[in-house]
């Protein structure tokens, strides 16, 4: 009984480990405290930034951009991934493009996106959506390709059209992989949004905050922003995990 209750606290283990290692490193001055402030200093900066400073606004901005780009990516990539995954031949023919762009740093593509979409929010959202879509696409397509053939055959023999098989069987068979893709995708979208905020001009967002703090050697502020980004990433992952748990009840069975 009591164990079950304690299980809720499991995710905290990771946080505690992180804080413990971090504390020890700063305590023993393994890293110069100017470069790596103590957790306490960082959380003070986080607290002040969040509730009395601009960090809260930046946080919300980054959340918005990340969510928009993930939604765009998912809408484009999931159907496309299923389609491509359903025919190995089709997938092989575009594999070059997928692997090519997956392996090209988004930051190297900024000039192109800047030219195509300008400096505004759109660029950041599109470039992040582009990156995330590739990862989701890749995972979904592999999920479909590795799906158990018997179920597809069963649907076929019941007279399901190609499209129906795609939708009713392959989509669901690939669900576990799709969620892995979505979680990879949302993390990547966040990373790209933050990087874009750092390097494409921006007046707000966590990336801009990291960049500015970096320029001004406000290390507690910088780590506070990084911490906010990481925690945001965890939160978004948790969101997908919760959906997955509710939804993909059959995995591994």
């Amino acid at each position: 009984m009591n164990w079950k209750r304690l299980e809720v606290l499991l995710p905290l283990v990771g946080v505690v480990v992180l804080l413990a290692v971090w504390s020890v490193v700063t305590w023993l001055r393994i890293v110069d405290p100017v470069l790596l402030p103590s957790p306490a200093a960082t959380f003070k900066a986080l607290w002040t930034g969040m509730f009395h400073g601009k960090l809260g606004v930046d946080f919300v901005k980054t959340v918005e951009r990340t969510i928009y780009s993930t939604i765009i990516a998912a809408i484009v990539a999931i159907p496309l991934g299923i389609l491509l995954g359903s025919s190995e031949r089709l997938y092989r023919s575009v594999e070059f493009l997928i692997d090519f762009f997956r392996s090209t740093p988004a930051s190297a593509m900024f000039p192109l996106f800047l030219v195509l979409f300008g400096v505004g929010d759109r660029t950041k959202i599109f470039v992040a959506a582009f990156g995330a879509a590739l990862v989701i696409l890749f995972n979904v397509a592999y999920g479909v390709m590795n799906a158990r053939k018997t179920r597809i055959l069963a649907a076929k023999v019941m007279g399901a059209s190609r499209l129906r098989v795609l939708w009713d069987v392959m989509l669901l068979e690939s669900m576990p992989a799709t969620f892995v893709g979505l979680r990879n995708g949302v993390s990547l979208a966040l990373v790209i949004v933050v990087v874009a905020e750092m390097f494409i001009g921006s007046v707000d967002g966590l990336g801009q905050r990291v960049f500015e703090a970096q320029q001004m050697f406000e290390m507690p502020d910088m780590y506070a922003a990084i911490f906010a980004a990481g925690a945001l990433g965890y939160g978004l992952n948790l969101l997908f995990l919760t959906i997955e748990r509710r939804f993909v009840h059959w995995s591994g069975k």
């Binding site: 158990r148 018997t150 179920r151 055959l153 069963a154 649907a155 076929k156 023999v157 019941m158 007279g159 399901a160 129906r164 009713d168 069987v169 669901l172 669900m175 993909v248 009840h249 059959w250 069975k253």
Partner: protein, 271 residues
């Protein structure tokens, strides 16, 4: 075009009564796997409106044959025609030998059974009615809200059988459909299958390793050799229906069964 169920029933039966041409014609069928030739220039006709059993040793190619007929995977050579036409939209009923992997784990038992109706575009209300009807007629006592992975082997197989029957198929393939059912259920399902067949005269292909069951249920028994599979004999058994326990004590039944067994054992021991 999906005429209502009752019309379909009679359509199958009418066709069986009036048409004598084979339902499925197999010509020059060949299939090889890695090192083994499973079929080599195999010819066979599946008669219309008959219940046919396929009996043969493990690994001779029974599942492979019906998979090819259903178009699930391609033959290397040869043609399979339905009423003289290549495969098009035919309503198959199919119970897979590996029924566990053929049900959809994301659908409840009920939705699994209703799925082929959904594919056919039957509206939800009618779908539910049909499923309830078949569940009632088969007297099934399973909680249909469970997901397949929450069910026992036999329960999953029952779901699989109901899914095949619910559509009033034109051809019914049953690949060892009763292998996981308990004693009582097996007997009961045999009777149900016979009843459905008598009512609809749906062309049925049954793979079974139980010779008694095969003879009891069939009009024709196809005896296959070890692979490369040849039709060793195509036994006719024309006892009137409905057959009952009494049928199994009749001389005709016993001699047919004995004959099949003799051929089977001769062929198996050859290999």
């Amino acid at each position: 075009m999906h005429p209502a169920a009752s019309m379909e029933l009679s359509a199958n039966a009418r066709a069986a009564a009036t048409r004598t041409a084979p339902h499925v014609t197999i010509r020059g069928l060949s299939k090889r796997f890695a090192d083994a030739t499973i079929y080599d220039n195999f010819d066979f006709d599946i008669p219309r409106g008959k219940l046919m059993s396929v009996f043969g040793p493990n690994g001779c190619g029974k599942s492979t044959l019906i998979n090819m007929i259903a178009g699930l995977f391609p033959a290397d050579k040869g043609e399979i025609l339905f009423d003289g036409q290549p495969l098009n939209k035919i309503k198959f009923g199919y119970v897979f030998q590996n029924y566990r992997e053929a049900v959809f784990p994301w659908l409840s038992a009920f939705d699994n059974i209703a799925y082929p109706l959904k594919v056919m575009g039957v509206p939800k209300k009618e779908r539910n009615l049909k499923v309830e009807k078949i569940v009632a007629s088969l007297n099934v006592k399973i909680d249909l809200n469970l997901y397949p992975y929450q069910m026992s082997g036999g329960q999953q197989q029952m779901v699989s059988i109901m899914r095949a029957l619910v559509v009033d198929p034109e051809i019914l393939f049953l690949d060892e459909p009763f292998s996981a059912l308990d004693y009582e259920m097996t007997l009961f399902m045999r009777e149900q299958l016979q009843r459905v067949f008598v009512e609809t005269h749906t062309t049925t292909v049954l793979v079974s390793h139980d010779l008694e069951e095969a003879v009891y249920l069939s009009d024709r028994i196809l005896l296959l050799s070890r692979h490369p599979a040849r039709p060793v004999e195509f036994v006719h058994y024309d006892a009137p229906r409905p057959r009952t326990d009494k049928t199994m004590t009749e001389g005709d039944f016993i001699s047919t069964k004995a004959h099949c067994l003799e051929i089977f054992q001769r062929e198996v021991r050859k290999g």
